[in-house]
Symmetry: C2
Subunit: 660 residues, 2 copies
């Protein structure tokens, strides 16, 4: 069901009913962009801590607009062994509903807009008919305004005088006297004749002020004065004769009208409130950005601190499942190799998985999964739900006896609760929404600072003696370099001690020095993200090339990851061991294998697989390109360098023959 401003009022009760009866609810959002920083890759450093990642997304993704919200409810009908689905595709736009409402500014990213355009996105629908919304605070402020005005009205006798300006008028300026005189004459006429009301000509705010003031002092009762707007949005004053009863009736009407206005203004936020109130399981695919945008746009500003964000989010959506994370966990990760939504959906229609049977009521749009409509939020929400059901039911095959239907509230699903996929973080698969995050050991990681002329190839040259390394750029003058063997760390540090052009610290030292700097925000301000970065970006050469492939995954599991075995689910142990999953760690760990050493390596492979995505994107597919763009820039620099041999080359850590 497509929902715009035009049919929102009719759709809302249907939505509420669907939410109330649902077993679970799948959601998806479309945004006007991903990152207002220099590149999406800068948003997703492979060695971000969860705090850093949250901080970056909050700062550089929230100024985009979530302008299409897909929601699909799933209710299991045991008599037919079928899910009844109700899909809603909401167009959302912060239309200023009157002169006093906030005038939201949002950023658009050309590549995202162009991608959505290529997918047939209807921008006219969103901008002309998008449903407005308010956060809770904005609603309170609006309500307060209405109440304040009402209070004044009541205290003010019959004339509903709303002081429109802080500047009182104590005399009528010369040039306005004739104008006010004609108004007075019109009112005198009205009081004498049989008309019920008179409309004055449209006039300026100052003139309206003078009129209110004059009427207030000259006529004590029996007049109702109201400012109205004509078709041309010009304001004019209507003066009516009223008795007490009539006045009460009018005031009641006005109150009702205001309440309706208020409801209209809260608009789409009422959908989110209904979903939140239901406490139902919310399923999304790679849903961190969806969740952040939803909270930010419809509930209230995101807190600075990650722990506060988790708390707020859990109070809005107490149970979340991310299908991208689920597909990357045991027992799925070994049989699902591409976790992008479209590919996942395809995979889950093949053995050993089974497509669920679904049916949708007549008044709802049924999606034909054979003709893909990816990137329409309603469709994406629908197939996200299908993916969840397929994976959930697959878990049932491990039970004795096997079960073909696993309910959304099954204990089997608990290991997947409230863990949100973390894009492109090498060693932390997910954000743990209901507790502390995994803390991977990063003692093979070096923090390297160097002159801003350096490029990736200079770092490779510097560390050429160490075999395969992995470079994660932080900004123009620093990067993380992951060595394949932790033993090499000390050698590198020792050798660098006398270097002048660059500096090497261990990851632990880096963390320490960060904690010392009291203002952590400063880090973000100095990392190359400038205020005007969403202006013209620099031209760059690019490639789809990904460094991470070179990383040969020799390092062992970090103990701190292994220790995170809280919330162990015994039913989980069952099918983990049944599948003889190859992990160095304990099969019963709730993160279901992904954080084991094997897990970390296949994790990475998976991310690399997605590196070949195309130019167009949503939040899931966007990053690989931008990542290559930023690499491209460095590549171009590199090319320039090699063509000019007179430039100084960076020192080698060791005197080894230069192979490339």
């Amino acid at each position: 069901m497509e929902v715009t401003r035009q049919n929102f009022k009719e759709a809302l009760p249907k939505l509420c009913e669907a939410v109330e009866e649902a077993d679970f609810i799948a959601i998806d959002g479309e945004f006007t962009g991903i990152s207002d920083g220099p590149s999406v890759s800068a948003l997703t450093n492979g060695l971000d801590t969860p705090e850093e990642r949250y901080c970056k997304l909050r700062k550089h993704s929230m100024n985009f607009l979530l302008f299409q919200f897909g929601l699909c409810t799933f209710k299991y009908d045991p008599t037919q062994s079928k899910y009844i689905t109700k899909a809603f595709n909401f167009y959302v736009f912060p239309k200023p509903f009157n002169r006093t409402s906030p005038d939201i500014k949002f950023i658009c990213q050309s590549s995202s807009i162009d991608f959505l355009a290529s997918q047939g996105f209807d921008f006219n629908k969103v901008f002309c008919s998008g449903i407005p919304y308010l956060t809770q605070e904005e609603e309170s402020q609006l309500r307060e305004q209405y109440e304040e005005r009402r209070g004044q009205m009541n205290g003010n006798g019959s004339i509903t005088y709303t002081p429109n300006s802080s500047m009182s008028v104590n005399h009528i300026p010369e040039d306005q006297r004739a104008f006010i005189k004609t108004v007075e004459e019109k009112v005198d006429d009205l009081l004498k004749n049989s008309e019920k009301s008179v409309d004055l000509e449209s006039c300026t705010g100052f003139q309206r002020k003078l009129i209110y003031q004059t009427l207030n002092s000259r006529y004590s009762k029996g007049l109702h004065v109201e400012t109205l707007e004509n078709d041309k949005k010009e304001r004019y004053i209507q003066i009516s004769k009223v008795d007490d009863e009539e006045r009460r009736r009018r005031e009641q009407q006005k109150q009702q009208r205001e309440q309706e206005e208020l409801n209209d203004a809260v608009g789409f936020s009422r959908v989110i409130r209904a979903v939140s109130k239901s406490g139902k399981l919310i399923v999304g695919h790679n849903m961190l950005l969806d969740v952040m945008h939803t909270v930010h746009q419809f509930c209230g500003p995101l807190p600075e601190d990650l722990d506060d964000f988790k708390e707020v989010t859990m109070s809005v959506f107490p149970r979340l499942v991310d299908t991208k994370l689920m597909a990357s966990m045991q027992p799925f990760k070994e049989i699902i190799h591409n976790t992008s939504l479209g590919e996942l959906h395809k995979r889950l229609r093949e053995k050993p998985f089974k497509s669920p049977q679904t049916e949708c009521p007549d008044d709802f749009q049924s999606y034909d999964t054979s003709s893909e409509q990816l990137h329409e939020a309603g469709y994406d929400a629908y197939i996200t739900g299908l993916c969840f059901i397929s994976m959930a039911n697959y878990l049932g095959t491990f039970l004795t006896p096997p079960k073909s239907h696993i309910a959304a509230r099954s204990k089997l699903l608990e290991p997947f609760y409230n863990k949100l996929f973390l894009m492109r973080v090498i060693d932390i698969p997910y954000l743990n929404m209901c507790g502390p995050d995994l803390q991977p050991k990063r003692d093979h990681v070096l923090y390297v600072t160097f002159p801003k002329e350096w490029k990736t190839c200079d770092l490779y040259q510097l560390f050429s003696a160490f075999g395969n390394i992995q470079v994660s750029w932080i900004d123009d003058t620093s990067a993380f370099v992951s060595l394949s063997q932790t033993e090499q760390v000390q050698i590198a540090i020792n050798t660098s001690r006398y270097a002048e052009s660059y500096r090497i610290q261990t990851y632990a030292e880096y963390l320490q020095s960060r904690q010392k700097s009291t203002n952590t925000n400063r880090r973000w301000a100095s990392d190359g993200w400038s205020d005007t970065s969403y202006g013209a970006a620099a031209m760059t050469t690019t490639s789809g090339f990904s460094h991470s492939r070179q990383h040969s995954m020799k390092r062992s599991i970090s103990p701190s990851l292994e220790e995170q075995n809280c919330n162990a689910d015994s039913s989980w142990t069952h099918y983990c061991s049944a599948k003889k999953i190859k992990t160095d760690g304990d099969g019963s760990q709730t993160h279901a294998g992904v954080s084991g050493s094997e897990g970390a390596s296949s994790w990475l492979e998976q991310q690399t697989d997605e590196g070949g995505a195309c130019l167009g994107q949503d939040q899931e597919e966007a990053a690989p390109d931008a990542s290559s763009t930023s690499q491209g820039k460095r590549n171009r620099k590199h090319k320039k360098r090699t063509s000019d041999a007179s430039e100084t080359t960076p020192p080698l850590l060791f005197d080894v023959p230069q192979v490339w």
Copy 2:
């Protein structure tokens, strides 16, 4: 003529022809918003200096997108006494034309988008079919890339190997060996069989790199290797057998293709270049923002300094006329009371003006001025041109003998050249694009700083002894207060000397202290414009009320304004005196009366007249609303205050009875 990506190539020669033959060219732009600051009113302080205004517009308006560009050429046909008009309505969008092009981010302002939506603006057309563009620097960079690649190709023998990454590969990783082996087999097959080429499967950037490297080292000549993209935007490699001639042919083809790509990428900027090259007179209505956006988006980043901006602009558009400014100058200002484009156009169809006769060739869209299509850029450009002609011809009636047609290059129009209307500046009517700006005397202006709790009413109370004052807010804790009598300034300063809660300086002192602070940018950073200000704005109450009405215009003309009588045009004197125009100054002044004392006061009235504009807006009509919104906020504060009498009230400058 509506021009999108689809018909741009056909339209460009027509545009160039129209520009070349034109007598003058009218332009208009539509933007995605006006101000990314807290409010538009903050963008337009009534006492901004030209430098300050430019600085604010550059910082807070340029991140919006100019996405519709209207251009209408006017060529006079003396045989028919008619203008031949050719109107173009360009949709403009920075579609990333390939992976390496800049990914522009731009801001949208909900009220502007909503307004355009209400006017029937086609967002799908702009986002799906908008013409791309590049600045000159972006074009150079792109050209450089192409040339660099070509150079490498030539030096590289037959294999056109473009190093896609800075990281060379010196060995093939274990897991890729089988893959590379199959590629080698395919190439060996190709060399043996009669096929001309073979397409490899799509693969990752890393794999492509390995393929290039392998082929480069194993096969010396006779192979052409190229990376192509399939329909799904996946990249794959095509390997072809070629002899020398075939190779040259292919390279030539490629070069042609690249040149075309480059032209496509430069796109709409070619229109601006053609217009600029023609040196023709450019007419716009309230065109400062149009000019700034045009230079910024299609030529290059705006310089920080106003004088540099003037220089750059004059090099792009050597002659400009702003019809809003023209209509506000002598001899028009006394007979034209509303200078907004729609109203001006209406007024100029009545006596003493005459509508010009126009005709448009068959293949161009003819606009019907009786059914308004305001806010379509092509239409707005068209009627701006009509307004210009009507006003220009009106000047001819002052000649002896009178002339009914005044050419665009007539000396009569020189007084209007290169002066751009300055919105809502009280005492500086225009930005002088080809010289220093007017420097009004502001010795009746006070710079007042106070606690952030203060509202407009507190300032009125403070100065209640001085009669009418005018408040121009700067930020939460400072404002300019204009007194009606300069003599009061010293009294106010003396009285404030012992005040603790507020501080008063003269305007001269304020200027001095600003010059002292070396970093003028800091002022903008601390004026309440925060980075995240385009997030949710605060809710505000509002009114159409404008303070400036209260200002009773008693102050005399500033001598420095009167002294600006350079470039006097004797033909001007003629009709100024013929019409017995009431000015205190010299009728021969080139700014045609607007800067005289009479000029300054009617100037202000005019601006106030526009204060009643409706919610919808373009850059012309936008500001009044936002201005009232920001006042509304202060009003709301005020209301709270008055309802809570226990709050401390600000001190009075004098012990006068409190009238309000």
